[in-house]
Symmetry: C3
Amino acid sequence: MKNIGKKIYQLCKVLFPINRSITGDGVRKTLDIIKEQLPHLVLHEVPTGTKCFDWIIPKEWNISDAYIIDPNGNKVVDFKENNLHVVGYSKSIDCIMDLEQLNDHLYSIPSNPAAVPYITSYYKETWGFCVSHNQRKKMVSGKYKVYIDSTLSDGSLTYAELLIPGEIKDEIFLSTYMCHPSMANNELSGPALTTFLAEYIQKIKKTRYSYRIIFIPETIGSIMYLSKHLKYLKENVVAGFNITCVGDNNTYSYLPSRRENSLSDKVALHVLEHSPLEYKKYSFLERGSDERQYCSPGIDLPICSVMRTKYAEYEEYHTSLDNLYYISGDGLSGAYDVYKKMIDLLENNYTYKCNILCEPQLGKRGLYPTTSTKETHEIVADQMNFLAYCDGSLDLIDIANIIKTPAWNLYDIINKFLEHGIISRVR
Amino acid sequence: MKNIGKKIYQLCKVLFPINRSITGDGVRKTLDIIKEQLPHLVLHEVPTGTKCFDWIIPKEWNISDAYIIDPNGNKVVDFKENNLHVVGYSKSIDCIMDLEQLNDHLYSIPSNPAAVPYITSYYKETWGFCVSHNQRKKMVSGKYKVYIDSTLSDGSLTYAELLIPGEIKDEIFLSTYMCHPSMANNELSGPALTTFLAEYIQKIKKTRYSYRIIFIPETIGSIMYLSKHLKYLKENVVAGFNITCVGDNNTYSYLPSRRENSLSDKVALHVLEHSPLEYKKYSFLERGSDERQYCSPGIDLPICSVMRTKYAEYEEYHTSLDNLYYISGDGLSGAYDVYKKMIDLLENNYTYKCNILCEPQLGKRGLYPTTSTKETHEIVADQMNFLAYCDGSLDLIDIANIIKTPAWNLYDIINKFLEHGIISRVR
Amino acid sequence: MKNIGKKIYQLCKVLFPINRSITGDGVRKTLDIIKEQLPHLVLHEVPTGTKCFDWIIPKEWNISDAYIIDPNGNKVVDFKENNLHVVGYSKSIDCIMDLEQLNDHLYSIPSNPAAVPYITSYYKETWGFCVSHNQRKKMVSGKYKVYIDSTLSDGSLTYAELLIPGEIKDEIFLSTYMCHPSMANNELSGPALTTFLAEYIQKIKKTRYSYRIIFIPETIGSIMYLSKHLKYLKENVVAGFNITCVGDNNTYSYLPSRRENSLSDKVALHVLEHSPLEYKKYSFLERGSDERQYCSPGIDLPICSVMRTKYAEYEEYHTSLDNLYYISGDGLSGAYDVYKKMIDLLENNYTYKCNILCEPQLGKRGLYPTTSTKETHEIVADQMNFLAYCDGSLDLIDIANIIKTPAWNLYDIINKFLEHGIISRVR
């Protein structure tokens, strides 16, 4: 396992126990820990009641304890053991009731009896408990004590933002969400990987693009962020990714932007196609995360998603089984490598123009390999093919796609050609 | 069998015995009967000799009797038994001749020996008889009396037109032809179905489009009509269909307009693709009816054809076997349903724009199903997918094609969204 | 075998023994022989040292003798037996050396032991001998006399050009190369076939296009020619072909221009697709001849290549086995026919417009066959289909492709339609 995988996994482990939701102190605590690693991260608070397009920032939810005591006096469900046991945004309750009554507020999955489901009710005030179906089947008739100690009151929604300025104002936009309680792939893998990706970008001496990275709650967070910054984002964002479900070590997944033709899609497809990675291409009709907002009509940001196994496509999804055993350092480092490759490709993806008419004589510049092996043969082919399409209208990815070579195989060649003045950057 | 099928079939039955051609009293009689059902239908007469682009309206042909008496005095061929027995536009003749001589004027199909072929000679004056090959083989040597009592003289070409005004001047153009004598699929099914389709359109409270419906003779009729109205048609017709061969109960057929990209093609393909109908897609190279004129260079009307079994693709075609047994109420009602669906789709095919940025909150408007079943799940998916593509550039059919749902499944959703002001019509 | 094949083969035979290179008297002698057949051919000399874009015209190379005498006094390698024995552009040498030393200057192909390889070193001064691997294995240890009598000195590069003026200034550009010593398919087939093709074009009474035909050395020749005439060529050349490897009787090959969308590509594909010829379509990535220059960025001439077996795709390529047995009269006449068909198609490929709205009445002009056979049926279909697409925007090839008929089947039809004023040429 690569070291980077271990580190990202370790961050997931630290953040796992915290109870997060779309608002509340769990979010603040999570972001504070991430800020230790990314000191330039700025936290923001948006008050309850703020209008965001068609939506309103809801009340802030905090919870200190919750449990169910059965007729025999045993604490059979305990929030302190697993925060998935309480339906997200449950209001307070403290009463005794029959199992029949309680049943209306219990959630379990008969077809996946070992799993505690993840349930929320942000926009309708109610309360409830989630249990494994195995656990539920053991619950006997009788009187149950039901207790939730939570607050639902005016407060604020918390999110964080990091801007890494580059040579130009054009921005790459990275968005990840951290509104899920103790689940690992969906969703601690996203914010954890994004933290290390931000670190990587910060270490590049001077990036070409500026990078804007946000940690938000899903849906209401992206809608809020768009409602505050839409004009700016539309003018400056040239590519971006919604980073989610990047922790397991199964397949890779690609979910396109709505029109499937943005720079982000081009970069994602090139990296996935030209790597020995198996991946599944989804349709925008199978979307389910913040691309629903980023790619909606009138918003139209160039944002797509590269994942490991896509949300809703694995059995453990949205249950207690999506835990630290489901993700792995190998899984995380695989996804990290893909994102690093995409960032590097964005940074290198200029449009080039050959400054010499007809084929340049590479030999006289020492750019022709003097020995002839299979490897040098491929380099020469890449060199000549790259020049043959270097017409000032095609960018690096276009050319690499046409000449059927990974773009990264051309980085050295391009640098040599730039040094010798054989080619120039057009844009 | 649906009631509508029975009714259309009944009209075919009434019109079947009449002897029609491209001109003459049979056409007038046919149109008079249709006018009983469509009182607003207007009959027109175009005089013999009228120039129509490269063509001239021919003489009017009428025929009162025709027969052949064999050497034994038996009337072996009799126009009064089947009007196909006389070659269309035959001049008068009354003489005695040998079988050898007569043979030059006899037409039969050796490979389909029970069928009387349908033959015409509009533009070269001649005469002839059509017989089944079985009948012909029985004809013995000897002297035959050959008699045709017909007139070929200055008169006029008769056609009929119905205009149903809509909210806007843009027109849907429906064209059908009734120049064939006693044959059923090709061609009584077209005018009969069109009669009932006109009735359906007239019953819509207020159509969006205006509808222009013409009953003409094939080829010379469409050329004549285009020569009189080309400028108007090019400015106002947005879609249209040549309605022919809509009576049998075998497959469905689609013959595109020349460029295959008109609104008519889009509507026809959507209805055929999203219905559980088997259909065959033909090429414009396989055209053979009035689309030859409507889609010719410089005319370029947006007209295609949806048929049951296409002309020239069934053995009974252009013979006495294309009779009332070949078509059926089920066949006619199937085609009628397709045309009704296409009309409804044209009426509903607006371009829509979502008025809200990011996903609208449907719950607060009561537009989210409160129960969750497989059916409501599909409705929610259709709702959200429809909105996701509702960007002011795509029309209903475009969106329905992208989200892979029949457009008619979206009619209710659209109406609710319009009521709630979530979307607007752009055009 | 067709007569034309015999004649082209005969010219190959005459030219075969001459020692050619990119410069030198062998080239002049070759062009003098071709000029006997094409008296209007003009020979040009470009001095050593002339700058051509990134390249410089090298010294002129001439060679009078070369051999190796083995330790037993036998002349084991002799330039006079086969001019491939000397590495092209070898400098003079006259000395005695051990086999070990000599080995550094010997070239053979272990995997193809009967073949003498073809090796050159234009831009690095050296010397060497090429031998069959069988021959090499027989060479015993000891002292060898090595002798090359050549000159490498300021002189000039020789090429020839023929202009056949047409009705318009727009040019068809034919380029072929004759810088290879005694090899047949690559490359005597190209200049020999081009000589007869030029004769064919000259015999056409008055061509529509002007034809510019050049005989040059490969690479340095095309770069030189482009550097002298680029502006003119870009303004006037509408199509062209690099004529090479047209002598064997195996498959046909098509190598597209860089963008694959020039008039030349269209013509080549139509002729290959609509002939009963098997052919292989290569990618521009598999280019290897002067299209490397003609199609380079900023040059962008509309030039592609139709070959028999492509260079580098047959075992005999660039060895002594690519000799007069490898090519044949049948092979040459097959390629000649394709080029003739392409020239004829270019001459006929106008854009046409029908002057009559709706279908013209062909019968009254005697353009409808009076008998009805399978053949006349196809002619009628071609006639009507041609008119149906004759809309002033499509050229002959476009229409022929759409209606799935070889363009040459339409030549007669078009001429008749032009005579009757039914259609006009738009451009």
